[in-house]
């Protein structure tokens, strides 16, 4: 069942950047792409549970700050060693100035 939660304001994240969002004991990462779209994934790297929000966003890739594991944040796809497990992604919508994610 859909469960939309307000994660942040649209302008809280720069273009081509990422922000951490904690909710219900879980941590998420919210992204704003260079073409101004919003995405959300699990907040922790699938390699060693490191917060991805400390990582670098370049184009559609988030790079983990710990050992440079790379994911496509739009699909969650792991892009090679050392990460081999994909990231879970969550639906996102922008409503007014707010970014909502479906954690349901």
């Amino acid at each position: 069942m859909a469960q939309w939660i307000e994660a942040c304001g649209k302008d809280d994240i720069d273009e081509e950047d990422v922000m951490r969002f904690d909710h219900g004991g879980k941590t998420y990462a919210i992204y704003r792409s260079p073409d101004d779209k919003f995405y959300a994934t699990d907040g922790l790297c699938t390699h060693e549970k490191i917060h991805l929000a400390d990582g670098l966003v370049m184009d559609n890739i988030i790079e983990c700050p710990k050992h440079n594991g790379r994911f496509d944040y739009r699909t969650g796809e792991a892009k090679g060693a050392p990460v081999c497990i994909n990231l879970k992604t969550y639906p996102v919508k922008v409503d007014g100035g707010k970014v909502l994610i479906d954690v349901g």
């Binding site: 081509e16 490191i50 917060h51 400390d54 990582g55 670098l56 790079e63 700050p65 710990k66 050992h67 440079n68 060693a81 050392p82």
Partner: protein
């Protein structure tokens, strides 16, 4: 029939080589020979989580049986490669088996240097999983731990042992810790953090002997310890290459494509010496995790007929207490430093050469606070960029904007 692509050494580079040979579309035989009895596993945890974790540790596998089945690769474990017959392209193993190769990758890594002073054999070293398991148990049963050498591995073990509550002394002969490749300002932060955690830091202190119950310093003082651990560097494993008549220059001498003078033999990882095109073709050998991965990727591509040069920017991390340190590039090539303060406790030192080119970035801070900017610095280094000092120093100027500018 040959054994196809043959790899010596089942560490990070060897494991990665198998994966990349297949990812590059190679369909022939792959055989890896490793002297360790375990399948390839990751070494960085050995000085960190392996010692401190409450749960019984497990190797962090790089490859497991099911992956090897799907990669269709043979791994011969617990056997050393003894010699190479280059004329017949044959690798001889210690157990009498011979493998004929199309191309050979030497990924034999490095082994810890041993203490040579009186009682040196009493000092433990850390390189493989068995060492890690042994240290984990010994440290847990020791009231006092002495660590010889203020390099990365010694300091990481010091932090881990301190976390377990042992009294820890670090003894470094040089005037400061991390003399090799780490700027003073960062070494100072690391030093202070160890002291704050209760580690006794003895720098500029020589040793005269190791005894069963501790170490004797050059000035005659005795430091009691239940276990002595030496982290005094590592030596590249080059014997196989030397025996085969290949050149060795602090590592197996390769060209920029990681090929030795023999067109069918390549090297990658901690054992490999290569000229780095980004740094004036300076010959270097790196002991770093990502280097082992990236070099295995390049070497295997070239084993399959490519001619790609290895040009990745050197990069290394170390975790001690709550601090993470990352170093990109070759700080030692810099003649001038610029400091960027990211927060109270996090900063980056940029290293610029005489022409103003960015050649290195060294960062330290809690958690992963410096990772993003070190990564951007790495990208600037890769482009041979020469950003203005004022922009580098000003934390309100995004490094990403320098990259795009």
């Amino acid at each position: 029939m040959t054994n196809g692509m043959v790899i010596v050494g089942g560490g990070m580079a060897g494991a990665r080589a198998i994966v990349n040979l297949r990812a590059s579309g190679y369909e022939g035989a792959i055989t890896l020979v490793g002297e360790e009895t375990l399948l390839p596993y990751d070494r960085p945890p050995l000085s960190k989580a392996m010692i401190t974790d409450e749960q019984e540790p497990q190797p962090a596998w790089l490859l497991d049986e099911s992956m090897l089945v799907s990669l269709n690769a043979t791994v011969l474990r617990g056997v050393r490669a003894k010699s190479i017959d280059r004329a017949s392209k044959t690798l001889h193993l210690e157990d009498g088996v011979s493998l004929s190769y199309e191309k050979l990758l030497i990924a034999t890594g490095a082994k810890p240097r041993r203490l040579t002073l009186p009682g040196g054999e009493l000092g433990y070293t850390l390189r493989d999983y068995a060492d890690g398991d042994h240290l984990r148990n010994r440290i847990r049963n020791s009231a006092a731990v002495a660590i010889i050498g203020g390099g990365f591995i010694g300091l990481e073990v010091a932090a881990s042992a301190r976390k377990l509550g042992a009294a820890v002394t670090v003894i470094e002969a040089q005037p400061r810790i991390l003399m090799r490749g780490v700027p003073q300002e960062i070494a100072d932060v690391v030093h202070a953090r160890h002291e704050a955690a209760g580690v006794a830091m003895q720098v500029g202190t020589g040793l005269s002997a190791i005894e069963i119950d501790g170490v004797v310093l050059a000035d005659g003082r005795k430091i009691k310890a239940d276990i002595v651990i030496a982290g005094i560097g590592a030596t590249p494993q080059t014997a196989l290459a030397e025996q085969a008549g290949l050149a060795v220059d602090n590592g197996i001498t390769c060209d920029a494509t990681l090929r030795t003078a023999d067109a069918d033999i390549f090297a990658a990882g901690d054992c490999c010496s290569f000229p780095h095109q980004l740094f004036g073709n300076k010959r270097m050998r790196l002991e770093a995790w990502r280097n082992a991965t990236d070099q295995a990727n390049v070497a295997t591509e070239n084993m399959l007929g490519g001619s790609k040069a290895y040009t990745a920017v050197p990069w290394f991390w170390s975790d001690q207490h709550d601090l993470s340190l990352q170093i990109a590039g070759v700080p030692g090539d810099g003649v001038e430093t610029v400091r960027r303060q990211l927060s109270d406790q996090a900063f980056i030192i940029f290293h610029r050469d005489a022409s103003g080119r960015l050649v290195g970035a060294s960062g330290i801070g809690p958690g992963n606070s410096i990772a993003r900017d070190v990564k951007l610095a790495e990208m600037l280094i890769a482009r041979s960029a020469a950003p203005a000092s004022a922009a580098l120093a000003d934390a309100s100027v995004g490094l990403k904007s320098l990259l795009k500018g």
